[in-house]
């Protein structure tokens, strides 16, 4: 388990780890003393950094980047906030808040937000397409061990902006059955939806939607229990216009409780549509 002094703090953009900073410092020194040895620091640095320039020095980052971002341009950007608890007290329900409104203030338009946990056996937590919602959400997910947790935000210009934070955990969240799976109650409540619109108190305008869909969200990593999880949810207004869309993956906690925000209260009635990976459908009016 990797330890960091302050898991909640995001490094400044372009900041270097102590180790890499030291290596570069030594490299610069060598370069001054012996101009003929320019290649030395480059080699030393290439050997030391297996994390592809990740400020959190995660060995999983280069593969994650290739898988989710591919060849598109990407930069670490503190305008993307990822807030977890300092310590995941309950590894099956780790509260996560992702907020990319900082990018809006930079004049950017958000295409989608991909949430990943580097060291989870299933890394992909969710992909959120805000559409007419604010580019922020809160959810709970399962964490198998202490890990960087990231929001990979793609703006419509094809640029990726990555925010992250470290979450410490005792772990085990992905490989233990949830309460409703253990007591069998999931089948009585499957895909029931509870939702409520709240006035947005924090900013005095807009609206906040909190919704919970009853689902065991089995990860497939517990012996004898295949993966069984919600795959997507979409919120539409009465004119069939989509207000937001979210893809959910195995690590999202049992009975997902999601929080979204809007600049204006959407014209009701709203419909929540969705399905799980067994083809069960969700169609629920939200008032």
């Amino acid at each position: 388990m990797k330890q960091v002094e302050d898991p909640g703090t995001k490094p400044a953009p372009g900041s270097l780890s102590r180790r890499r900073g030291l290596q570069q410092g030594i490299g610069a020194l060598l370069g001054c003393l012996a101009p003929g040895l320019w290649s030395l620091p480059a080699i030393a640095q290439a050997e030391a950094d297996h994390s592809g320039g990740d400020p959190l020095e995660s060995m999983q980052w280069p593969l994650l980047r290739r898988r989710f971002i591919g060849s598109e341009p990407m930069r670490f950007n503190p305008a993307v906030e990822v807030k977890g608890p300092p310590m995941a007290d309950d590894a099956m329900n780790v509260p996560l808040i992702v907020d990319a409104r900082g990018l809006l203030r930079q004049g950017l338009e958000i295409d989608r937000i991909v949430i990943v946990a580097d060291r989870n056996p299933v890394q992909h937590v969710a992909t959120f397409m805000p559409r007419q919602a604010r580019p922020m959400l809160a959810l709970r997910f399962r964490l198998e061990q202490a890990s960087p947790v990231r929001a990979l935000v793609r703006t419509v210009d094809g640029q990726w902006h990555v925010g992250h934070s470290w979450i410490n955990a005792a772990g085990g969240g992905c490989t233990v059955p949830g309460a409703s799976r253990s007591d069998g109650s999931w089948s009585r409540t499957l895909n029931q939806v509870q939702a409520r619109l709240f006035p947005n108190l924090l900013e005095g305008r807009g609206a906040r939607l909190r919704l919970q869909v009853m689902h065991p969200m089995d990860t497939g990593l517990v012996a004898g229990i295949p993966a069984f999880h919600l795959e997507e949810l979409e919120l539409r207004d009465s004119a069939q216009q989509p207000w937001l869309r979210i893809e959910l993956h195995e690590p999202v906690s049992e009975n997902p409780l999601l929080t979204f925000e809007f600049e204006q209260r959407p014209p009701g009635p709203l419909m929540l549509l969705g399905r799980d990976n067994n083809g069960n459908r969700i169609e629920q009016e939200v008032r």
Binding site: D90, M92, P95, Q194, R196
Partner: protein, 335 residues
């Protein structure tokens, strides 16, 4: 459900932030030194609080390697007919060192051991008392059996070497609440609830001393992995009435300095009421759990031991029920 619940509760009960909490009451009474981790010596020093009656106070802190997970107050009543031990600490080692400390203090053999609830630091030392009847409420015994293994694992992870060789040994005799004579002391056992489903309170009527178990914390944030706040608040009212009626002189809280025990009733009530109101209001405003754990804690609680780690844990334990109630209307009652 059992397995999942257990894991969940364990996580919630004992995970601690590695940061050292600020506290006015940090550490131990002046004459007592803290644990010596290099020798795995808890340095247990019984302190007499009444004739025949001693307490061994734990660190006013969260579980950590530096205190060997010893944050509990244990006690014993030594009479001419024998000794009664209350709670056995967080590990085999604690039980053994507790037994040695009691032997040094009194010549009387121990006749009875009592665990006041199911939480790990009330009973993991039972291993050192296997030749003595160990009593607890029936519900406590069931909880010790169900959760004991997970408690071992969790405290091993938190306190390492201190826990070596610790295996949970649930209490062996279900105890019935009521009045009994123990070596000329009228001892009353009372079953209350709220901190857990079975909270045992022990009153020595001869000495006007009350062991409040997990219901009372002093200068330390109360823990809530098995809590029902409404029941807990009712129990605190009952305790307050008892203290007044019986003229209780010393109240031994489960955690926190014994000299502050009587104030602990009001402190614990104040915290639970604030917690309850904060969780209810937050859910009605539509806050997410991740926002609630970041809410500021009022100044009067800010200096207590295990802050803010214990507040964050309590929000994890309790807030989901308040959220469900806010989403569903008043049909579901949050605990």
């Amino acid at each position: 459900m059992r397995a999942a619940r257990t894991t969940l509760r364990i996580c919630c009960l004992t995970l601690c932030c590695l940061a050292t909490p600020f506290t006015l009451a940090q550490g131990l009474p002046a004459q007592q030194k803290g644990a010596d981790a290099s020798r795995l010596d808890y340095r247990l020093v019984p302190r007499q609080i009444a004739t025949d009656l001693w307490v061994i106070e734990g660190a006013v802190d969260d579980f950590s390697r530096s205190n060997g997970c010893n944050i509990i107050n244990t006690g014993f009543i030594a009479t001419a007919q024998g000794t009664l031990v209350v709670n056995t600490g967080p590990s085999r080692l604690y039980g053994e060192q507790q037994r040695a400390a009691i032997r040094r203090q009194t010549g009387q053999p121990v006749q009875q051991v009592i665990n006041l609830n199911l939480h790990p630091d009330y009973f993991l030392g039972n291993q050192a008392w296997q030749d003595v009847p160990v009593q607890a409420l029936a519900g406590t015994m069931a909880g010790q059996r169900a959760e004991g293994k997970a408690y071992e694992d969790n405290l091993f992870r938190l306190c390492g070497d201190w826990m070596k060789g610790t295996e949970h040994r649930p209490a062996t005799q279900a105890v019935t609440p009521g009045m009994r004579d123990f070596g000329g002391h009228r001892i009353e056992l009372l079953r209350l609830s709220g901190h857990t489903a079975d909270d045992l309170v022990l009153i020595d009527h001869e000495r006007s001393v009350l062991f409040a178990g997990g219901l009372v914390f002093a200068d330390r944030v109360p823990t809530t992995p098995h809590a029902n706040l409404a029941h807990w608040l009712e129990s605190l009212d009952q305790l307050e009435q008892l203290v007044r009626k019986l003229g209780i002189r010393t109240l031994v809280p489960s955690h926190g300095p014994v000299v502050r025990g009587l104030e602990g009733i009001a402190q614990t009530r104040d915290w639970l009421q604030w917690l309850q109101a904060t969780l209810r209001d937050s859910a009605e405003q539509g806050l997410d759990l991740g926002e609630v754990i970041r809410l500021p804690v009022p100044d009067r609680f800010a200096q207590w031991a295990a802050q803010p780690a214990e507040f964050v844990r309590s929000v994890h334990h309790l807030y989901p029920a308040y959220e469900r109630q806010a989403l569903r209307g008043p049909a579901v009652t949050a605990r």
